[in-house]
């Protein structure tokens, strides 16, 4: 049979999280589960900075027909956000291509109306507070998201999800598989009220499409077009602190003012005040926690970001 014009047969799904939260694994679990259901599948992670805590995304395409589309998904049918702090980072691209038909699934305790207003999205938004629903270890947030996504798509059986998890995590051993299974299936069940809300999109018609608006490419002298950074201190403008999932916090009572933390900080994010006490620049501290490792007096503590006052929900990216 000839393919219908713009036949809605291709699911396009994107997972957003931070390096270390298992987004690649989540996409693979979902991809594998769809493959179990007899779909053609394509799944891939896209790394920016290959660093724990940095924003990453992964995507899945699934169709009953061979998939010819490739690369980043520009018109998603489902976007899963494992870490809500990404919503305030435009560079993370969480909302890229999100339209009225897109379902947005956000790991957040915030109520849906407030999230919808804050993000200015018209389509269906489903919020789930993973920690309230039994996610005790952030390392498993990927499995939780994959389980929830599988139910929203509505074409994946519980047993296919289970097979996918066993396949994808086989190298990690039984204990880890068990934890992931329990969480993924739990979040699969949790999404029962929303089963099948995700529908495959139509793709772009060749009859009615937005002109790509190519430019007549200008020549510019080498003094302009050399790939060089002339301005000093540009890295100060990037708030790499937004990559952080945990932060070091100083207990001044224990600090011996040895300055080892400042010496070892790879980002020069720790300076010493006049008395010799360290001062942490949280705008640029990436949360590597080398200072915590190095401090001989154990004066640096590790505090999860969401336990700090207000988290970073309201922070804006400049």
């Amino acid at each position: 049979m000839e393919k219908d014009e713009g036949s809605p047969s291709l699911y396009r799904i994107r997972f957003h999280g931070r390096g270390g939260q298992g987004m690649k694994t989540a996409s693979r679990i979902l991809g594998s589960a769809l493959f179990q259901e007899g779909f053609q599948v394509q799944d891939a992670p896209r790394y920016g900075a290959e660093r724990r805590g940095a924003p990453i995304f992964a995507y899945v395409r699934a169709s009953r027909d061979p998939i010819n589309e490739r690369g980043i998904i520009h018109a998603p049918d489902l976007v899963i956000v494992a870490d809500e702090t990404l919503l305030s980072i435009p560079a993370a691209g969480v909302l890229h291509g999100v339209a009225a038909a897109t379902v947005l699934l956000v790991n957040s305790g915030e109520n849906v109306e407030s999230l919808q207003a804050r993000l200015n999205v018209a389509g269906r938004l489903i919020a789930f507070a993973a920690e309230k629903e039994g996610l005790h270890d952030l390392r498993y947030v990927g499995a939780a998201c994959a389980g929830a996504a599988a139910r929203l798509i509505g074409v994946i059986s519980r047993s296919s999800l289970e097979v996918a998890i066993r396949d994808e995590l086989a190298h990690l051993g039984d204990a880890i598989i068990k934890n992931n299974l329990q969480l993924a299936l739990g979040f699969y069940d949790l999404m029962a009220p929303h089963v099948g809300v995700v529908t495959p999109g139509r793709g772009i018609s060749a009859l009615d499409y937005r002109n790509p608006e190519w430019v007549d490419f200008p020549f510019e002298e080498a003094r302009l077009s050399v790939p060089a950074v002339f301005a000093p201190g540009t890295s100060a403008r990037l708030k790499t602190g937004l990559w952080r999932t945990e932060r070091p916090v100083l207990d001044p009572d224990l600090c011996k003012r040895c300055s080892l933390c400042a010496t070892y900080c790879p980002e020069n994010a720790i300076t010493l005040d006049r008395q010799g006490y360290p001062n942490i620049d949280y705008d640029h501290c990436k949360g590597c926690l080398l200072c915590v490792e190095q401090c001989p007096a154990h004066a640096m503590r590790t505090v999860p970001e969401h336990d700090t006052a207000g988290g970073r929900k309201g922070e804006e990216h400049s």
């Binding site: 891939a44 490739r70 520009h74 018609s205 499409y209 790509p212 608006e213 000093p232």
Partner: protein
């Protein structure tokens, strides 16, 4: 046979494993490293009987690959981008040894500026080296391409090394369903490597790659390599027929997709060509008879096949994911040369540069390329070459330049 989800990199490792490779000289580079890691894991766990040596550079790695192949063992290696360039001297050199092996290149744009994402300037820099080139569009083709490549490389009328190319990220890190053939079936397709008389052994020394002055001998040896490379066209046809008989998947040196009645044909290589297929389907839905011509074999160059496939078409849109600085698209020049001098009316050949450094090519851009090419057909002359680059991208460049402290003089465009 089993069918599972595999990345392009894993599919490459499976191809090497099934080919029964005996020696893998290695040097890491993104986005290729996963291939070597996978093989290393299998060697370590005893799943394959193979020797791996880590070298201190790609220059040494390619030397080791050629030298090992000259001792009569089956050799596999892989690299990417700067690595391929660093080994460039030895690419030309080992090809002249006529000791065949297979190397995978995972395409990645070249410095400067530096990137990790794909285009084809790396693999096309090796275009004239004597290595034959197979360009893959899917993860399945990566696995199959390696098996085909060994047969091609070791063919008695060829005996040249072969590069199998895949795009970084778009294939290397992307999983797709891949059929992994049974080892027994592969052995029916690809038996052990026979080095014939070109076999270096300590007990029977020979002089390899001798010095020749005056040009006569040099010309003889080099032109023999050229003829051997051209023999690859016929050999590939025979080998692909064997492959289809055993595995049921058909490959030709040039893939044609809906070309028979097409008036407008895209020409491109690599994984982005599947995007072109999608565009062809949608354009046909919209009443535009489009098609795709995709060379799988680029060296040797299937000139006659391409000529025949493009004969009688109105417009051809060649999409180059490479840029010969000061010239333009490399594929555009090669396709144009294939069409030149043929009797009868020739299609308008439009040239587009796109996908440099991993820059995506959208569905809308395929439609627009089709429409602009058809417009040129109406007007009767080829349009000037075009870089796929949107107004908003130029604005983004300007924003980044401002942050980088690029100073524009009064009156210089900021637009």
């Amino acid at each position: 046979m089993k069918r599972i989800l595999l990345t392009g990199n894993n599919a490459a490792a499976w191809g090497a494993r099934l080919a029964g490779v005996e020696y893998v000289p290695a040097f890491p580079i993104t986005p290729q490293t996963e291939i070597i890691e996978t093989l290393a894991y299998w060697i370590d766990s005893g799943e394959i009987d193979c020797r791996m040596t880590t070298l201190e550079s790609e220059h040494s790695m390619i030397t080791a690959a050629g030298a090992a192949a000259a001792t009569g063992v089956r050799v596999f290696t892989a690299t990417s981008s700067q690595g391929l360039l660093y080994g460039m001297e030895m690419l030309y050199t080992v090809a002249g040894w006529r000791a065949p092996f297979v190397m995978v290149n995972v395409s990645r744009g070249l410095s400067s500026p530096i990137t990790l994402e794909p285009d084809h300037n790396d693999i096309l820099a090796a275009r004239d080296s004597g290595f034959l080139q197979i360009h893959c569009a899917t993860c399945q083709e990566v696995l199959d391409g390696i098996l085909l490549a060994y047969r091609l490389a070791e063919h008695e009328k060829v005996r040249l090394p072969v590069l199998v190319n895949m795009d970084g990220f778009y294939l290397s890190f992307t999983r797709e369903p891949v059929e992994i053939p049974d080892a027994a079936a592969v052995r029916r397709f690809l038996s052990g490597y026979d080095a014939e008389n070109i076999r270096f052994r300590a007990g029977a020394p020979l002089s390899e790659a001798v010095a020749v002055l005056g040009g006569t001998l040099y010309s003889y040896f080099r032109y023999e390599m050229h003829l051997a490379a051209l023999n690859g066209l016929k050999a590939f046809g025979e080998i692909a027929a064997d492959f289809a008989a055993i595995f049921g998947r058909e490959y030709r040196d040039v893939e044609g997709y809906r070309t028979d009645d097409a008036e407008l044909v895209f020409v491109m290589i690599g994984s982005f060509a599947t995007k072109a297929k999608e565009a062809v389907d949608r354009l046909r839905d919209a009443g535009i008879p489009a098609g795709l011509v995709r060379p799988i074999l680029l060296r040797p160059f299937p000139r006659e096949r391409i000529r025949n496939m493009l004969a009688g078409k109105k417009g051809v849109a060649v999409i180059d994911q490479n840029l010969s600085l000061g010239m333009g698209g490399i594929l555009h020049a090669e396709i144009s040369s294939a069409l030149y001098g043929v009797a009868g009316s020739q299609p308008i050949v439009a040239g587009f540069i796109g996908g440099l450094g991993g820059r995506d090519i959208s569905a809308e851009e395929f439609y627009q390329m089709a429409n602009e090419t058809l417009q040129a057909v109406e007007e009767g002359h080829a349009p000037p070459p075009r870089l796929l680059f949107a107004r908003e991208e130029l604005a983004e460049v300007r924003r980044m330049q401002q942050i980088a402290g690029v100073t524009r003089n009064a009156g210089e465009s900021h637009e």
